[in-house]
Amino acid sequence: MSSDEMDASGAGAVVDRMAGAVPEPGSAKSDPILVADGVRRSFGGLTAVDVGHLEVQRGTITALIGPNGAGKSTLFNLLTGFDRVDGGRWSFEGRSVNGRPGHRVARAGMVRTFQLTKALTRMTVLDNMLLGAQGQVGERMAGAFLRPVWGRQEKANTVRAMELLERFKLVDKRQDMAGSLSGGQRKLLEMARALMTDPSMIMLDEPMAGVNPALVQSLLHHITSLRDEGKTVLFVEHDMDVIMGISDWIVVLAQGQVIAEGSPSDIRSNQQVIDAYLGVQEVGDEVRGSGDE
């Protein structure tokens, strides 16, 4: 790939995908897949999430960033039905999904991974993958006895699972217990497993944490190819190089609120964002200092 092409898939294309969305908190998108309004959640006295209005553009890679404790994971949990909101509405692909339990949100096509990896440890890597496949006849209690019927589905699903495992460099581990994988491998497995559900939007909570740099590059490649297949990616990440490198759009959360939105170049120069990161002592100058590490 020549450097010219790289540029074309970078800044130039970004504007296109976002169709000129205004870089300000709560900005409207031309073709939003996810629209959230007034989503709130507090723990005791602490307001963890209080998002006024948020839209995620279909077919883009959107990064959700913010200092530790900003409410990113909590927002993920709320949107995907893994935690209960105190208030607010949101819709996915034009259909309201608020109040739906997690499995129904997943079935609607919005699938998430967890910051603390949830590998099913005493099951093989392949079984982990197959669990992701949707519409399995054999998963119904009565259907479980119809081996000829689900056997065929199982074969097709196995082929698909193997393709994904190949992509994620886990194919040699397919018969191992997931609990025997390393931390980074578990992250990969979780992402591959989420993709096995064939979601229209995938939400990744720190997918690169603990993954070695060489693999990060190939993961980034997978993420961009997912987008190019038409999927929407929303991911939480702390590594600024990664974020700036692949995001079409960045949403910045601080103390539960969206304080800024925009393309990577908008965000890089946004004083409020820099202040937000500096305002939280533990994270120090994460934004500006990310390149040094």
Partner: protein, 330 residues
Amino acid sequence: MDIFLILAESARSAVGPVAAIYALAAIGLNMHFGYTGLLNFGQVGFMLVGAYGVGISVAVFELPLLVGFLVGLACAVVLALLLGIPTLRLRADYLAITTIAAAEVLRLVYRAGFAEPLTKGVYGLQNLSGEFRTWNVFFDPGERYGFGAFSFSGNHMWLMAVTWGLVALTALLTWLLIHSPWGRVVRGIREDEEAVRSLGKNAFAYKMQALVLGGLIGALAGSMMAVHQGAIQPDQFKPQVTFFLWVILLLGGAGRVLGPIVGSMAFWFLMSFTDGFLRGLGREGYLPFLSGPDYGAIQLAFVGVMLVLLIVFRPQGLIGDRKEMLVNVK
């Protein structure tokens, strides 16, 4: 002391009706805990409703035995729903507390004065095996089958055939289910329920199904118990029974289809052996400081020791999967 006699007696217990009944109940518990990860500390409650389904139908209403079985199974479904609906959405420990309490409450209700018209209170119900024996066309009740001390009456043979048959049937059912995509979901729930939900599976519904299924198998065990003994009293259904079932499950290997069966046979062999051995020693005058009733206490202490040894030396159980056990869980 005739060690061979004790061994023959122990072997008789290992394959006898009681071992079969406990194996059956433990198969239900294996569905709950071994595969789905549900902490059911009240499996005896399911046995109780199964036993009284037969008892009340047959002894009070003079209905056919088969109706009694069906009533027992229906009660198990109701019990599972009552236990599961409020707790299965919550953390695992809520089910544990609820089941242990519910089983005790059931026992107290069945023995209470107000329930006497149906349950006959603490005295329980009698004459429950008559019809079952009339179904026996295979074994002659007057005959003894086997050799020497290792032999059974025709009635026992018939009961063992049916109960072990049910054990085989439910084990096969378990095997089929667990080796299907349904079983994969259920095992996934045992590992991490949220991960399974994030993949679009209704974890609550699966847990409910597993709870009902394991409860039904437990009730079946209870019904066979009523038929075996011919008489039931509420106080046989103490928490100790659940405790034995857990020992059996862990001894054999949780999450293995044959685990509960191997566990029950080994458990009753050892129980009978310690009993015979203690009595033998007592008769020969080696235990002057103990009297007959103390043997039971020592026997129970022995169960505890067995459990400790098991956890130390073979945590996966007799036929458990060591590979699965060694996996670093977190």
